[in-house]
Subunit: 458 residues, 2 copies
Amino acid sequence: MLSDPALSALGALFGDRLSVSPAVLVEHAQSESLVTAGQPDAVVFPRTTAEVAALAAWSTTHRVPLIGWGAGTSLEGHALALTGGVAVNFRDMAAVLEVRAEDRLVRVQPGITREALNHELRTTGLMFPVDPGANASIGGMAATRASGTTAVRYGTMRDNVRGLEVVLAGGEVIRTGTAAPKSAAGYDLTALFVGSEGTLGLMTELTLKLHGQPEAVMTAVAAFPSVGSAVDCVIATMQMGLTPARIEFLDTDTVAACNAYSRLALPLAPQLLVEFHGHPEGLAEDVRRFRDLADAFGAKDLDWAEKQEDRTRLWAARHAAYWAILASRPGAKAVVTDVCVPISALAQAVEETRADIAASGIPGPILGHVGDGNFHAILLVDPSRPDEAAVAKALAQRMAERSLRLGGTITGEHGVGFGKLGLMAAEHGAGWQVMGALKAALDPLNLMNPGKLVPGQP
Amino acid sequence: MLSDPALSALGALFGDRLSVSPAVLVEHAQSESLVTAGQPDAVVFPRTTAEVAALAAWSTTHRVPLIGWGAGTSLEGHALALTGGVAVNFRDMAAVLEVRAEDRLVRVQPGITREALNHELRTTGLMFPVDPGANASIGGMAATRASGTTAVRYGTMRDNVRGLEVVLAGGEVIRTGTAAPKSAAGYDLTALFVGSEGTLGLMTELTLKLHGQPEAVMTAVAAFPSVGSAVDCVIATMQMGLTPARIEFLDTDTVAACNAYSRLALPLAPQLLVEFHGHPEGLAEDVRRFRDLADAFGAKDLDWAEKQEDRTRLWAARHAAYWAILASRPGAKAVVTDVCVPISALAQAVEETRADIAASGIPGPILGHVGDGNFHAILLVDPSRPDEAAVAKALAQRMAERSLRLGGTITGEHGVGFGKLGLMAAEHGAGWQVMGALKAALDPLNLMNPGKLVPGQP
């Protein structure tokens, strides 16, 4: 609950862009995942960096937490208000501020979504390739260090954010990075804020690296005799130095769900969905080499989608896989897991996970960005059965522990939020306390997205 | 000066791997640049992480600074003892600990040099491509966020360090990163330590990303009618989406120096030295496209070095350019500058710098990694003439200021040390104070390489 003086000061700053209406508050207590929490005390819709800075000063004066809000698509409760506070909705800060085509850079406000950004860029010959599936906001993607299908070639948000403007706790505004392609001038503050989930400050501007729209694109889908042979084909592809733009794994259950939902007729077997970008001459050789590898690993029905419409259909199906899997068990809710292991351990990780899920009694199709070692099980639970949620939670916990045992991480791309707080010590050991010390240095009153990512939280 | 109890406790830890001999101390007060400072009180040669941890605990107990020492090739005084203390020479921690070929990773100790590492990797089909010119230690390269000729394709140390083991002030040991290709699990501590120049802790182990040795390589050298046309050709090359493995600019003075020193007969004109890596089919098209671009920008004498020996000769000459330029003014010492600007500002930055140097009366050939916007002037001063050193220093200052004005950085790859401390506020504004707060959080007694990188230093 905000005190009267706090509320009235906030009203003075935001006028009718402050809301305490129950419907708006409830909207900002939602998440696409099963992770739930309380609701914010108020929601504001800033338009400028100066307003966000004034808000941070207000937050310090009145000791009220601030929680950034982008598109609401995060999966570990990152944007939920655990202890009340103000949700900072960046809906009205969603502009493209500058396109610098020669430098392949774009400056944007945090609220723009990746689809809106690429729509703005469509005539420039450039694109922003990071694609987590959801039409997330760029600010949210940076805050969670998102990645997705194209990271295997173009990198994650870590690699594609060149600089930031950040409002710190208390209201100071800093700028990180420059328009130069690299720098050795001190601590990499950009990298520190990317993935900090709003716990160190609020991003108000981002400078992103752009990439040329590919001159030519080839997409293929191939069915493999086993999970192991599909994964071994991925390892060989990466080792040969081929650089697919995407290389996605779908297990048989996922293929079945996609066939039903997106009206495809893919063979019911583990599949790789692969795409190459380049100039036509180089691409022809990439395609030839990948075909040879797929043959060597027993692929059947390798099918190159030469036409744009066939490619679009395949990737639309991949992007709809989450909804397809949800639809495969009517009424179910999904617990979406997210681990990332060394490529050498990928087959083992996937196969042990499949066996674990099979023994659990709940459905859990597996799919993932296997060129990166990153995969997800979509665990489907009946919301009326708390025992199923408990089973799913235990499965997710074992997936994360298995990933650590195999040298991997508890989250490849979804982040920590508070859903994965309990696993941070296991991954980082004393390093987690270091994160806490950094947080305390920049946000001593713990007003920036409290309860997330660092230790010692309520 | 170390107190007797401090010295005796240090002796108990390191035995005959502790040295206070004047010759050894003097050796650790040297630098390849004109930046000079005092000397350490002692030098130790640890063999294990446990020894480094014990040293850090000793440092806290006795309030004695620790300064890491790799190959001694840094250029801004990073490894010099400003206020005494102990130089930590990693000569005896230089092993390759593990090669994980399937994961394209290698674990190494910090003291190994990049040449020794690549020698160890030669039969694996893999390589570590980051190449700053000097045969620097990997630990030093990570600490300074080094890059060099190949960063345009393979990235800098920022992109190629996957994880670290770090001994913190006080002696706690943390591990950052995992063997998985990516992670969204909390603050990116790896990125925070890379480029921190030993001010936050001492790296005792590094996990590096490896790349496949290229199947085919093509190198070309091309003379351009002007600096502007050479730079415009670089911009067009990058915009076309060609990804050269290196693309280096040499101005006419540099070409003259290289011709004399390395017995080449390159035309006396601004030159680009470019290399492509790939499979033969893709490469043929890259080469064709680059040739067309070079033609369009007026290149003459475009010369493809098809034979390994010709390529080796060209790149050896490029690597020797620093020595070639030094030799062009017998007895001179070099002030090596290092700025990095947005590609769109590169021609302006180089041309203004050339004019500034020409008006200064001292020689200063220019060369650089222009695909990254990074270039250097090697300012040659007569060590017996302090006025020349002052002129060089003023030129370097103006280069950095020009870089900032054009949206660039004060250092592309050499780092801050204490040579560039005075420029940090201009680049980072309030962000520099944030760096200071992070430093204070992790090293409250200021024992880790004091006097470098952060504000408020002696």
